[in-house]
Symmetry: D2
Subunit: 257 residues, 4 copies
């Protein structure tokens, strides 16, 4: 054993045996869904049923948001120059940052801080929320997770929160972001909780560490980026100019499950 020797707790590999967090992968196959496997891979254990439902809803909520988001435009532009599928998707991932898809991390930090201040100071959560809003206003910063340039009431947020209520998962995270929304409203500004904010609140309530914050959006959006890259490769000519907004939808008509 050299001094470069190291340890990992994710997967054990031996001849004809692959064990993810202790479970034989071939035993898991056919018995668990992909999202159960995702939770197992990153959190180390299989999720409880209610957590799984919430996780699926979070991942489905972020699959795609059309052709305007920077990550979709970048993935399509790279594909248009002849990039491989993986390279184009990687370029798309590099366009998921603080201002696009990356607000979950910042929002989780704000919510955790607010919750901690509420608990440690034995204050009312609404008072802490007002303080936080005042602090951000003083620094002329926006509170991540609130506001959307298109949706005045994001239907995905609404659904995430009703599900969380049904499943009895909502806790201090959801309360805190709602308190922030109210404090902003008391300030005269109506801002919707966007899907990043809703996910941040739920990750707090699911006890998922902040390090994984941005992973959920990214894992969920990769299949959307794949769809865009393959559509670009199969439907468009190479090296076209890709207009960021002047595109229309011509897929399946409105339908219901």
């Amino acid at each position: 054993m050299s001094d470069l020797s190291w340890k990992t707790s994710i997967t054990k590999i031996g001849p004809n045996e692959v064990r993810l967090r202790g479970y034989r992968v071939d035993e898991l196959m056919g018995q668990i869904s992909f999202s159960q496997g995702i939770y197992l891979a990153i959190m180390g254990d299989l999720p409880e049923e209610s957590v799984l439902i919430m996780l699926d809803a979070i991942l489905v909520s972020s699959l795609d948001h059309g052709a305007s988001p920077p990550s979709a435009l970048v993935a399509r532009t790279a594909a248009s120059t002849g990039a491989s599928l993986n390279s184009a998707v990687a370029a798309g991932l590099l366009s998921i940052n603080r201002y696009h898809g990356g607000a979950v991390y910042d929002c989780m930090a704000i919510l955790s801080n607010g919750i901690e201040r509420t608990v440690s100071s034995d204050s009312d959560m609404d008072d802490i929320a007002s303080q936080i809003v005042a602090e951000f206003r003083a620094e002329k910063k926006r509170i991540a997770g609130l506001g959307h340039r298109l949706h005045s009431e994001d239907p995905r947020t609404f659904k995430l929160f009703s599900l969380a209520e049904e499943l009895d998962i909502d806790g201090a995270g959801v309360d805190m972001i709602r308190a922030l929304q109210s404090a902003i409203a008391a300030d005269g500004k109506t801002l919707p909780i966007n899907v990043d904010g809703a996910i941040a609140a739920l990750l707090v309530d699911l006890d998922i560490p902040q390090e994984f914050a941005n992973a959920f959006f990214s894992m969920a959006r990769v299949p959307g980026l794949v769809a865009h890259v393959v559509e670009e490769q199969t439907r468009e000519r190479p090296m076209r100019r890709i207009h960021p907004t002047d595109h229309t939808y011509d897929g399946p008509s409105d339908r219901s499950i």
Copy 2:
């Protein structure tokens, strides 16, 4: 409408409404799993039950393969220099290519070609397989999807094929890769069908276009890369030397569902 105007059939976005392939995303949330959503995003329709089970098994099979694969080493090395989660995962994705994870595309091409030659020439599939093996040997090329440096019998392949049989999904794709394996054996060489080869055979039998071949491995491996990046960030010091093989597993003990 300018001459740069274009169309997309993936997602329709309007104020307070996001529709993926025609379905309201907030209606899908809570009703479908992430893997159903993935299939919908890339294929355009929800999968049948048996297809879904197969899809989950394929995605679970490829979640992670420990710390030795180049994609894991690259993602960890990037993370070790201070890369963001997304940048580190993107670097990992850039290390998934022909020789690692990217064999599905090449293998699908070989299988589709073999099936077409069998059908169009009205020949026996075994004869076509022998011809293909001879052609590759003449060009000193390896047939993608066969052989593994560690597993003499990949347990994931075994499980994918038994599930496919149970679900009555296995068809010409599975037959063709087995015919190739036999032809190589007749040639005196025993090679296992690796997990890339098994996935390629099943994607052929699921009528999934070859353009998506490498997407399944990539989509499945992204959560594994996330787990490695966060483990690196939280467990190791920055800028360590990362040995490619001298690491041991210290996670949960062997267990069963």
Copy 3:
């Protein structure tokens, strides 16, 4: 020495000593230019004077081509989401492929093949050029290195070729691409030699291996991408919609050295 031990011929590192291809880096500093260092790093020896002049001209020719190329748009879009400088430049690099900046490799292959056929068949280069043009037409493929969507006569090509003539560097590579241009013209179509084609011809005449073909464009364009990323970061607001063509230049007025 383990069985993983390997060798490299680029740089030797010891305590307080860094030697690039045998030369102490601190001796090189102050004595050679960056382009001399580039040639040394990739080719293994310092360039002759005429080669250096040609190399500088090639690299200067490809520094930037405005905000419309996909690599610039992608780098700016990534930057606009909050990507770090390196991540944004990396995303730009991922958008340099066959259809944008990557034609040098394909063109070098065509030129080398044409030269080889001319030499081995003892034919006239013009006849071989006509054959190649006919072959590409039969397969409905374009010959890389010829044609430009904007420039009918690329001033950079003209300058590269006059410099090569002055420096007595032009040889079979330049002859071959001109023969191809003439063969296409005889076919009734006037196509300019674009800057990719000119660089390909000169790399052939400079005996630079084809593996490096696309490196020259990429190395040269990285500073251009840096300029775009920093301009985006310092001049624009985050998450703006970036129109691919509707932009105008407002930098320094036309001037001359």
Copy 4:
């Protein structure tokens, strides 16, 4: 002109005319070196002679540092899986961050802050340096730009500083980093100024904005990464295990210009 219309001050493109910062690129070609072009592209004007010599020295200093740096290992690992040259180099770039090559930015910030505090408080620079060292020690943070795991006296730093002195370029930046080094020494710890720290000091003295800090290392290292990727592609078999330290140099013998 739509509301998406925007402006850029880098390059003006017209039919048969490309102007970088006002100069016709074909006029620049043959008259300026690549490093002059780099300075023009990012700073907007051609550099003075002494600045150019310094710039070349900075870029040459960072061309390569052997096969152990994470960026080289990542680029080689990606190449080993079959990545294209550009994708492998992009993966390498994604491994240049705070802990590898990215210290220039942090160090520039510390130096600028120290200079500002010295000027505005009318204090002695050595006192400010001692304060800064105490502040970092209190927060248990390292000062970027000082210390190297291999070199106790980095020969590249020595050469950069002697050149700067000769060219009369050294100013408050160089003074400040030396003051920090002395303050640390007074604290009982001998740390060399590493090449990142030296470059940071010189960029401060050259009035180059901090936004470009990390660009110099990245632009300089790209050719080194190209050399590693092509060496990997042409000398090694695909998918080998790449040991991070167990490699030896077998290139040209020690030599002098």
